[in-house]
Symmetry: D2
Subunit: 367 residues, 4 copies
């Protein structure tokens, strides 16, 4: 038995795991000490390698920054809609009143096979038949469908649902101690055919005021991978744009422009290798201001790798898992910036695929 166990843990890590590790390496998540670092970080915790994390000997240490249960949610112990609960009729009317010129800007990118994809995600679109059916009738009608196979809610411009991100409490690999938004466990939520709780179909349509901060303009250049947007950056951008911080109100959405999106389909390898973004400082400001959603022209909105090498996508956990605040990735702000439109109405109704972890679609800004 012991001998057998030994054999398993000594076995070389196979290709699928390697692929992910390779990705994390290129994404800057595997530095000197792996995802969790050999240097043990400023909190002095033991390092956790991803291979170990999924292997036979689980890490007995509790996850950092998850000491206090974050549930029940302020929207109730059964809530699955998170910060979309902000979108009340009053909030909608407030947004409507801010519309001035009736222009619509698409904030989303086209979905296509050549777009940068995280890790091993795939995107394959096919037109069956061409035409798919017909001709039918004396009017000789023909029709075309498209067949798509993909990680639909987690490719391209994507809205993270509340079942996307969780924290492994307790023992690694124990679904009954894996916690998601509102404390829902993996055991309660996970199913091979779709999430049983926190599915993206539970999110209410978003229709709220959006505020765009141009961090690239503040810095005078595109930010680099691993470069964190500070609260000072945000405030400098607001000032530069003649905006008041106090005008960013509960239930509003905040968007960060870094310039990183200029790499999209121009240099996918670099685009995927990491990204600039917000860290815990700005995340806490977002929480304090009680916002509804964050968004950016990057694939994760948050800084990757995190300056604290022991942390992986910690802003996701802080905003989404603990506070139900939504996140919209791979957005485009170019035309808004060209027109100096920093405030607008952000409209997005997630595609209600039952049990999905996120949503594709085309968010729009109306000015």
């Amino acid at each position: 038995m012991d001998e057998n166990k030994q054999a398993h843990s000594d076995a070389p890590v196979d290709a699928p795991a390697l692929e992910r590790r390779d990705f994390l390496k290129t994404a800057g998540l595997l530095g000197v000490g792996g995802v969790a670092g050999a240097a043990h970080g400023k909190f002095g915790l033991a390092p956790v390698m991803p291979a170990q994390a999924q292997a036979a000997a689980p890490n007995p240490a509790p996850p950092r920054m998850a000491e206090t249960p974050w549930w029940p949610s302020k929207w109730g112990a059964n809530d699955e809609a998170g910060a979309s609960n902000h979108i009340t009729p009053e909030k909608v009317l407030e947004a409507v009143r801010s519309i001035r010129d009736g222009r619509i800007y698409k904030l989303g990118r086209d979905y296509e096979a050549a777009m940068p994809l995280f890790g091993t995600r795939a995107f394959a679109l096919r037109i069956p038949g061409a035409p798919t059916g017909g001709p039918f009738g004396e009017n000789k009608l023909v029709y075309n469908d498209e067949f798509l196979a993909t990680e639909i809610g987690q490719v391209g411009t994507q809205f993270d649902g509340l079942g996307h991100i969780g924290i492994q409490m307790g023992r690694d690999g124990d679904k009954s101690e894996m916690r998601f938004y509102n404390g829902v466990t993996g055991a309660e939520m996970l199913d091979a055919n779709g999430l049983k709780k926190n599915g993206v179909e539970k999110i209410k349509p978003l229709f709220t005021r959006g505020h765009l901060v141009d961090i690239q303009a503040v810095r005078g250049r595109m930010l680099d991978a691993g470069e964190e947007i500070s609260l000072a950056d945000v405030r400098a951008a607001l000032q530069r744009q003649n905006m008041q911080e106090s005008d960013i109100r509960p239930g509003d959405a905040i968007f960060f422009h870094t310039g990183w999106g200029s790499l999209w389909m121009k240099n996918n390898d670099r685009y995927n290798s990491g990204e600039p973004g917000i860290g815990l400082e700005v995340a806490r400001w977002v929480i304090e201001r009680d916002l509804c959603l964050t968004g950016a022209d990057t694939w994760a909105v948050e800084v990757v790798p995190n300056p604290d090498k022991n942390l992986a996508f910690v802003v996701h956990a802080e905003l989404q898992t603990k506070h139900g605040i939504h996140n919209h990735e791979n957005l485009v702000f170019d035309q808004l910036l060209a027109d100096r439109k920093y405030q607008f109405v952000y409209i997005f109704a997630p595609t209600p695929i039952k049990g999905a972890t996120g949503s594709s679609g085309c968010p729009i800004a109306v000015t």
Copy 2:
């Protein structure tokens, strides 16, 4: 050689074709005389069976109702956006001004494997890994994706793109004589990996006034399959709802409630077997009023089978292919009707999957 050809045309039709034929049969498209009918219709054309339509001996007759080329489009010979061109800033502001109470209604249904699917379309959602990745970092983050394989833009609540429907001109099976919106040929448009023209990503976000007519209320019952909504029905509904026909303006959207949607996931077989809907009479009224979009609580908006048994989905061709007028299927109006909200702002930005024939998503009504 001749002998060989004979052999082919005598061969029994195989299963995939049978499946489609079976569907068409249940959908009422194959009556006494097949899709095109044995009675030869009022135009005296020869009948066309679907199996023949795809077989060696093509029908030499030109398609009915396609005598006159419908291109170039009034939006220009290169246009691929169709009636979404109606959505100008002025049109958006007109819609915004109509918002009174800030309530949002979801017009779309949840997407799930149990929903009724047309023909052989499929919908399979899977959660890889559960969790898909992690735990990563000392914060022990885990994440979930979803993998979806489906006719994405043609399942559930669906918006038809301009590459979905076409007409086979010339010889059956000849892509250079197969015509779509703006006269684009199959040869120009079709590709195994996505449409080269008329892809749904070309449609502009829709933000316009919507008008809902409750035909079920006028009739005092759910309409039945094959039952055509007349213009008189539409006018009676407007009158009953205290609405003026003249208030339906160019670029607006019109929605038809038939009650057929009550069968959704209650009786999928009946739901798929046909449907009530508009015919050519109302379609021509929609064209005259220069509307932007039609929608209904049915899977095709138009009456199936058509009262003229020789015609197959002819309203699709009339509105979409010839006039670029969009179509939104499998909608839900129950809450709007309960609240007697017959006018609202219809907002929908198609998911811009490059080269797709349609779009999933969640259209909303704002009142």
Copy 3:
């Protein structure tokens, strides 16, 4: 916290879980007392409902019949090939010597969308483009591909790999206590992109003597769902077929004909509702005789529901998980039986999809 937990466990079970439960119900797995039964069975264990099994309150009882660790395998602690290790050159030559007339029989069925599928599995085949590419060159070559989305190794005629079936030891939902062939844990084996151990690509090509027992002929009728094939049945069939039990040697394959396969695509609902098959008695005989593989004209080879209502697919676990003995489902023996060919060479090389749980393909019998 407690309140919150309460809320979760009180929440209604959602649709995906219901679908599976519905399936299990039609498959006879959910009788009076659910999968594990209200009667508590002869071992007096508490009942376990599938919904509970995946819910917040895991069943603390150890799994029945898994008391003794079954690892390491007799083929070594690192083995991932199981009983395919029987296929040595000597074994191949023994099989070759038994070939008499050079006839090949296909034991596999065609794969198509209309075949019966277990639970929520899907099968969607599409021809992209039609043609997919071309014409290319002056020779005007065109080509077609097929795009397939499916549970490839677990649909239609299917060979179970060693990562397909496991036993939840320890706490429900704890991957580090979920055990597969050779004691490999879920934590070691499971990955979103394919199994890291026990993938079907590790199985050696099978080329061995096969023995077919016609249980339908012994009983004089098609066996019914839930009807267990006894060892006496097997022996009666051997006698009827003039075969010696002693001629079934280590490494050979055994096949059971029940007649259930006659329902294939004739009555899929009944076919899926359960099946006749072997139980633990015959399974233990298979283990004693040290065979390589079991097969049948049913979707699981074993009796479903098990006469002991508390057990679910226990023969799978006994043969595959504990002894590495392979299993081939949804086979066809009609022509072999018509020709009274009860002994043949069974040849099957699993499709080596890295990290897959099973394999499609076409096993053959050579006589």
Copy 4:
């Protein structure tokens, strides 16, 4: 109208087409003059660019080398099994008699996402749920499935079916003049949900003598892309291996080792950029010898680009479309060569996916 047509043909070629063209370029198919060449070739035909080939103005010239109808097949006008008809009981027994030592060699590669894929083909494997189901019963059984989305029969080690390759006769894009094996037209064969004729399920299981020629050994180096294997090469290899050409008999299979396979997953870009292989000279020898199948350690078996730049995959058309001779790609011969086993029994039963264009699986060699 004319103006409109002009607009279409002037429109820039969009991305999907570009992707394919890019691929063909890297594959050497687009040289100075495109697929069909600017030099007009030795037959003086006009050049055909792929974009034109699919565009509005079809090439009116008949395809080169398709002057004479190649149908009906020598196996009858209705035959869909092609050269697999060679596999008679006598042929099987002949093969069986050649087995000496009972060793089995896998000729197929593992299928995985990292393998080189032609053009835009995709391969995505996911494990739903992990586990996919359970625990069920008091025995706490769990199970795993895999979900696969891919061009199943045209990725990795692949066997070409008779519906894979055809020739566009008549007008480009006209399915009624697109011809496949046995003269079947595109109109008769193509369907969105699977081929209606010439599906791979019609092929009989292959069990025949295989002959391997090591061209790399003859040349003393790996052959390069675009390097054609001559008949003299084949004869030199036979001589070097002490084999008689006359021993290669009707219905046998011939395999070519070029060394190109050493690039597999080592240098996918180069692997995909072209390949060494046979040309029309050896193809005609294969036809004369009345063989059953060709195979190689390359992705097409034939030389790419063809030395005659106007021809695209012409060996495919010559062998498969016109003569029904099968083709097996991306094979591995390393162990056979190491053991100097140049003759063996080749066994492969295509996975009978109804209407598929090819087959994955694991061909084996038995010595």
